[in-house]
Amino acid sequence: MKLTVPHIGHLDVFLDTLGKTIGPEFIAPPKTSPRTLSLGMKYAPPSTCLPFKFILGNFIEALEQGADTIAMVSDHGPCRVGMYDVVMQQILRDLGFHFTWISMDDTQIWRDYLVRFNRERRARGVSIWRTLRALRLGWKKLRFCEKVEFLAHRIRPLERKRGETTRVEAQCIKLIHGVNHPNQLREVWKECLRLFDRIEKDFTRKPLKVVITGEGYIVINPHANQEIERRLGEMGVEVTRTVWISHKIAHALHLDCFIPKSKAKAIKASKPYLKYNLGGECNSSIGYPILFKRAGFEGAIQLLPLGCMLEAVAKPILVRVSKEYDLPILTFSFDENLSETMVTTRLSAFIDLLQRRRERSYLKQEKK
């Protein structure tokens, strides 16, 4: 079995580790590129959302590289993701590919994940002990990759030489990928910290703090959001985002209590504005800006694919939240036509807006 999944955040480091220790052979699709998007656009039906196009492109490229099994999450609505399996299979088979499709239903953790997984494990004669160790290693590597991202978010706005943090980030991710044994983890992490330490920083800067929220795929994938985290960081802003693979896994296992600003808490915060949980990230996109404002963040950015059924509901509600919480919120609807210049101009205007607000509030405090 040559298994592939779409590119989503650092999921690949987790699956790759499992693949290496207990199989199946994991074929990561090539890094999402303009070619990926153009393939997706070419073969996707009209009116589909941006994540569909990227993921379709990923699958085509992975199949071209010899993958024969596709695993993809699915759910029971209400958004379109749950239907990707049947529509994409139709398209891929029409293109002449031969493959097996495995649907992983998020609400059927037992059946789709654990039972299936156990079956594969037994078929390969891998012991439970080895499996657990591999899972643990994969999880740790994933968490370390996320920690690297987290560090990059805090350090990038302070860097003296543009691009240094991004270079170090890429280096660290590569090092973590190369870990084959839990014993290596500690040394590798120490090395990462050293690399980050060596970045020349200007500590006199006081970066603005902005949270990025919205639809999951667009928020977590730099290739889908025009690398907005990097751009904001290079413009001197400390960002954080509300979508993390590890959080998603914890949420699926109902372990939200361990996460400080969990999705469950965000949904709760959104209740005064949206009475019912619509699904997807809709409610949390409304609640997260509230949680982060309380934590001292100065602005929020909502990202969504153009036409998103759920985030479009959150959009007008966020206008009200922005007013009532005195938190500027900027929204971007991504499709393949949104130009980079448009995004840059809006981002820099937003940053100026936040900067002046800050200066104004400092002045007010001084007067007191």
Binding site: P45, S47, K275, C308, P316
Partner: protein, 321 residues
């Protein structure tokens, strides 16, 4: 003075209007329905609704604005699900908030949360809740509910035979024709003549017999969906695809038209499934995608071409015999 309840002529009004109007009238409320969609109504709506939304939601804004000053309450139900297996588009569940936060000075909104998949939010419970808020007793509400159910049954039985009320299809004639065309789509795409440029009328005027998805038995729909192999979780997704495939495979129609809206999540996933199978079928298939820029000229042309293809096919088949 009776309390006036405003029902926007939009979205699921086109399926459940019999139920809603009977329910509220039985409770002695005055029911005010917005006028049929027209240009300036739409333009008013555009001023307030965000561009990321589909046309039906934009129209909903227009209809709500039209009712704003004429009613005491607006009825905008959050219809999540009316059957155990599937749900409606989530935008309807969020519509009351979208309206509240975009349009100033709206009258209070009655927004019962209806999800038949759970007992506490099933249709009777949620309607009872709002009925009580309006000062009615549970007994009256239950009676009104039963009246409404009866009225809906009558409507549904007739619809199954192809007899649609004038609210949906004024002066429908059901001609005896050998040109049989099935028209599929969300009810608000099919029965709002402004949205689809009066397509149903144009079809009938051209001498075709228009068949609708309401005319297909639900068990036939289930059979077709099972064959597709995916437990589709959208109510209208199932209905449209199931009815479409039924018509296709049972050779009951010469042509199939699927009316979709740009930016509709359901249509974007269902349409490829239907068109893929329609390509291998005998009927002529045509998907009409409506967006804000659609012009009537374009529709007429495509419709003519569609009907001509059907005619030609029929002549060819006759000649073969």
């Amino acid at each position: 003075m009776k309390i006036r309840i405003g029902i926007p002529r939009t979205l699921l009004y086109y399926r459940y209007f019999t139920f809603w109007t009977t329910f509220f009238s039985s409770l002695d409320f005055e029911v005010v329905i917005s006028r049929p969609t027209h240009r300036s109504l739409l333009e008013e709506g555009f001023k307030y609704v965000d561009g990321d939304n589909c046309i039906p939601i934009k129209m909903a804004f227009g209809h709500v604005l039209a009712l704003q000053n004429q009613v005491d309450f607006l009825f905008v139900p959050r219809l999540l699900s009316l059957d155990p297996k599937s749900c409606f588009c989530p935008r309807t569940a969020g519509l009351p908030e979208m309206l509240k936060y975009s349009i100033p000075h709206l009258p209070p909104i009655l927004d019962p949360y209806i999800d038949e998949r759970h007992r506490s939010t099933n249709l009777l419970s949620s309607l009872t809740e709002i009925g009580q808020k309006l000062g009615k007793r549970s007994k009256e509400i239950k009676e009104a509910f039963q009246q409404a159910q009866k009225a809906f049954q009558v409507f549904w039985e007739k619809a199954k035979e192809g007899s649609l009320p004038p609210e949906l299809f004024p002066t429908r004639s059901l001609p005896n024709s050998d040109k049989r065309i099935a028209v599929l789509g969300h009810p608000y795409c099919l029965y709002d003549p402004f949205l689809n440029f009066n397509l149903l009328r144009l079809l009938e005027d051209s001498g075709a017999l228009v068949l609708t998805q309401e005319m297909v038995e639900s068990k036939e729909i289930e059979v077709e969906i099972k064959k597709v192999g995916k437990d589709i979780y959208w109510t209208f997704g199932r209905e449209i695809l199931g009815a479409g495939l039924y018509y296709l495979y049972s050779n009951r129609v010469d042509g199939l038209i699927y009316i979709t809206c740009f930016s509709c999540g359901v249509d974007s996933m269902i349409e490829p499934l239907l068109s893929h199978r329609a390509q291998r079928g005998e009927a002529v298939y045509f998907c009409l995608m409506i967006d804000e820029h659609t012009g009537v000229g374009g529709i007429r042309t495509r419709l003519e071409a569609f009907l001509e293809t059907i005619e030609r096919r029929k002549r060819f088949q006759k000649a073969k015999r």
